[in-house]
């Protein structure tokens, strides 16, 4: 994985967030939520900084980051594309939508396109089962998606960037 250099400003963000939670070890998950929403992901260097702020082993932080699917050590694309793979979407053909997206973007699930524009993930149930199968781009939800529509949906975002 590429090494990154944290600026003093980045370190200050981390230390401020930890301080807000009184540097309590029991607040680790809340702290990581806040930091991930700032940086977009949790690379190794950030985890080391958190560990030293809270005075706990890096392994403890890494263990939590890798346990929960919400936390990621990879930066996401500018537009995070995700497909619901809840059971309702599955039986209504979500797998074909995933396959179409993989083909259209030229990446596998979990990957990011070379231009950094799109990343592709699967998630479990967004609760819009009435619209199954469902895909999301960022916060926007697209319902009753067919494999044929995928290209048109992505084009909207390609045009905007």
């Amino acid at each position: 994985m590429k090494k990154i250099e944290l600026s003093d400003c980045d370190l200050k963000v981390i230390s401020d967030i930890c301080a807000k939670y009184e540097k309590k070890e029991s607040e680790l998950i809340n702290i990581l939520h806040k930091i991930q929403s700032h940086f977009g992901y949790l690379p190794e260097e950030v985890q080391r900084a958190v560990a030293s702020e809270l005075d706990i082993p890096v392994a403890r932080v890494y263990g939590v980051v890798t346990f929960y699917s919400f936390f990621t050590m990879q930066p996401k694309g500018k537009y995070a594309v995700s497909v619901c793979l809840g059971t309702a979407c599955y039986v209504r053909g979500a797998e074909a939508v995933v396959a179409a997206l993989e083909k259209e973007l030229g990446i596998k699930v979990g990957g990011v396109t070379d231009d950094g524009l799109f990343s592709l993930d699967c998630l479990r149930c967004v609760g819009a089962c009435g619209l199954a199968p469902v895909m999301m781009v960022g916060e926007k939800v697209y319902g009753r998606v067919t494999p044929e529509q995928v290209g048109h949906i992505l084009d909207e975002y390609r045009r905007n960037s």
């Binding site: 309590k24 070890e25 029991s26 607040e27 680790l28 998950i29 809340n30 990581l32 939520h33 263990g63 939590v64 346990f67 929960y68 699917s69 919400f70 936390f71 793979l85 809840g86 059971t87 309702a88 599955y90 039986v91 209504r92 998630l123 479990r124 149930c125 967004v126 609760g127 819009a128 089962c129 009435g130 619209l131 199954a132 469902v134 939800v141 319902g143």
Partner: protein, 597 residues
């Protein structure tokens, strides 16, 4: 003074918001202002109406007109025609699919007729971001009653007598659970609300939190009083931003009103609630794992005993209940335990909320009395199978549950009956499948989920489920044998008997239930190497119909494996040994000459 004559309720649940219902509500507000009718018209974003299939839903009160599939373009017409002129917009009314009769009031729709809303009583009626709406519907009256009239022991007794059982999956008697926690002696105790709804295809807890967050706060306070706790924690998925937001709003309003905080209703009872965020781990629905996660650790379960009622969050006695369980509590206090226990079956009282989804006409969130049959739910409320297909199975209980078949359709739904039939209530996901669904693939789908979500702490779950998954994968690829089926059965039983927590102990259920009820389908995969539902790609054969083939060569050019041969204007053929079953030829053929066998 403002004298509102019409209320426009716009669904603000996640499903309808995905179809722009938030913008529809904004359009209503803007246009109400433009038309200068804001003194008589109020626009309210409410929680889920449940009829997600027909969303976005807009309801006009007091006329009780229920508009379906509303779009932003309809806003002006509804206001000008209905609100100003008093003429309902006919084309937006629900149409009975059989009689084609337009129905204006939701209580006459088949979807709602058999429902009984207790946990969802306020969803779709009140503004979830306004505590006054909740109070107007007898909100916080139960808390006041408990604090002024009952001792903690009396309160627990009421819950016990009501027969309420945990709605999160296990079905443990709630009153008994409270009693255990109340008997633990400690200077500090906790009430935890489990809102970590990780079951794919279930969204009832989220809908309750989005539509009626105050009911959970009130119930947690009642529980706190009963067990002697002054702190409550809600463990909620970070993936539910709207539910988190509404809960935050509700907590801060309740604090402002003195319904949370010190000396509630002037008594010496104090209670406050904090929110803790989950981070996407299915196992955290298990209460010990949930507690570890709230403490900032990996969400790994631990052996019970000690039960959380003795040693839970931060080592203190803790009572964990699910959202839907809590949602029932205030009503039980208000209407009495006898009222509640008069609903349902002998051993399962009250109602249950189900997220009805899959190949069914009316997808949505429903609440029915315990004892309603699956047939009533699927055919009357759910409106039958989509596209006139044949019903095949219904999956209840999510990854821990099982698949039930035609022969189970008439059993009354309750905790014990579903368990006896080889499935379980679970949190209330109900996924309907039709003849096109391959049951081996469905079992594989659930196992893939389990393999991903197993925390890895105990061997049976971590390794056993992976082996099970591999066996099923092999079968769907046409490489399975009959001995494999026996092996799968044995391994499943070992996992059930030896796994550490509820997740592992129930994880083979989808496999075992499909193996029991759809053995023929498994046998077709292993013996004849065919997939009767036509789902398993590796078992499909693409063949060209010589009658229809015109020799256009489109398929041969599309084939990446060069498996198709034939001269221009001659019949083409597919070499089955070379075919990789990608389906490219099937998509390319303009003459429907390629069949899947």
């Amino acid at each position: 003074m403002k004298h509102v004559k019409s209320f426009i309720l716009v669904c603000g649940g996640t499903g309808c918001r995905a179809s722009e219902s938030a913008l529809i509500a904004d359009d209503f507000r803007n246009m109400v202002r433009q038309l200068a009718i804001e003194d008589q018209t109020a626009v309210i974003s409410v929680g889920c109406f449940g009829f997600c299939e027909k969303g976005p839903i807009v309801k006009i009160i007091p006329d009780n007109t229920f508009y379906t599939n509303v779009s932003r373009a309809d806003v002006e017409e509804i206001l000008k025609e209905h609100i100003i002129m008093g003429r309902p917009v006919h084309r937006l009314l629900y149409e009975n699919p059989e009689t084609h009769e337009k129905i204006s009031d939701s209580k006459h729709m088949d979807f709602y007729r058999k429902q009984k809303r207790i946990a969802l009583r306020n969803c779709g009626f009140i503004d979830p971001e306004n505590i006054n709406d909740y109070i107007a519907r007898r909100g916080y009256e139960a808390l006041g009653t408990v604090l002024s009239k009952y001792t903690p022991a009396e309160t627990i007794d009421i819950i016990k007598r009501s027969g309420l059982r945990g709605r999160g999956g296990g079905g443990f008697p709630t009153g008994l659970k409270w009693e255990f926690a109340s008997k633990s002696v400690s200077n500090e105790k906790y009430v935890v609300c489990n809102a970590d709804e990780g079951d794919p295809g279930a969204f009832m807890d989220r809908s309750i939190l989005e539509g009626d967050p105050n009911s959970i706060i009130e119930a947690m306070a009642i529980c706190g009083y009963s067990i002697g706790a002054s702190r409550g924690l809600v463990y909620i998925r970070a993936e539910y931003p709207l539910a988190v937001h509404r809960l935050e709003v509700a907590i801060s309003q309740a604090r402002e009103y003195g319904l949370l905080g010190d000396a509630i209703f002037g008594t010496d009872f104090s209670f406050d609630i904090e929110i803790r965020y989950g981070a996407g781990a299915f196992v955290c629905g298990e209460e010990t794992a949930l507690i570890h996660s709230m403490e900032g650790h990996r969400g790994e379960p631990t052996v019970k005993p000690p039960f959380p009622a003795v040693k839970g969050y931060m080592g203190k006695p803790t009572n964990v209940n699910n959202v839907e369980t809590f949602a029932n509590v205030p009503v039980i206090i208000l209407n009495g335990p006898e009222w509640f226990s008069s609903i349902g079956t002998e051993r399962s009282k009250g109602t249950k909320v189900f997220a009805l989804a899959g190949k069914i006409n009316n997808v949505g969130l429903i609440e029915v009395p315990m004892g309603t049959t699956l047939r009533e739910v699927i055919y009357e409320i759910g409106g039958g199978i989509k596209n006139g297909k044949k019903f095949k199975a219904v999956q209840t209980g999510g990854p821990s549950g099982g698949c039930l078949t035609e022969e189970h359709l008439d059993i009354p739904i309750d905790f014990d009956n579903l368990l006896a039939a080889g499935s379980m209530m679970g949190s209330g996901g109900m996924i309907v499948m039709d003849e096109d669904d391959c049951m081996v693939s469905v079992a594989k789908f659930y196992l893939e989920f389990i393999v991903e979500e197993s925390c890895g702490k105990c061997v049976p779950c971590r390794i056993g489920n992976r082996r099970l998954y591999e066996m099923l994968d092999k079968i769907t690829k046409g490489k399975g044998t009959e001995e494999d089926l026996e092996y799968i059965e044995n391994l499943s039983k070992v996992i059930k008997d030896t796994a550490l927590c509820g997740l592992g102990q129930t994880s083979p259920n989808p496999v075992l239930s499909t193996l029991e009820h759809f053995r023929d389908e498994y046998l077709a995969h292993v013996r004849d190497k065919t997939c009767p539902a036509g789902k398993c790609r590796a078992l499909m054969h693409y063949v060209i119909d010589p009658e229809k083939c015109v020799g256009c060569t489109a398929c041969a050019r599309a084939c990446p494996a060069e498996a198709i041969t034939g001269e221009r204007k001659q019949k083409h053929e597919i070499d089955q040994n070379k075919c990789i079953k990608c389906g490219a030829c099937y998509e390319k053929c303009k003459f429907s000459a390629i069949n899947i066998a």
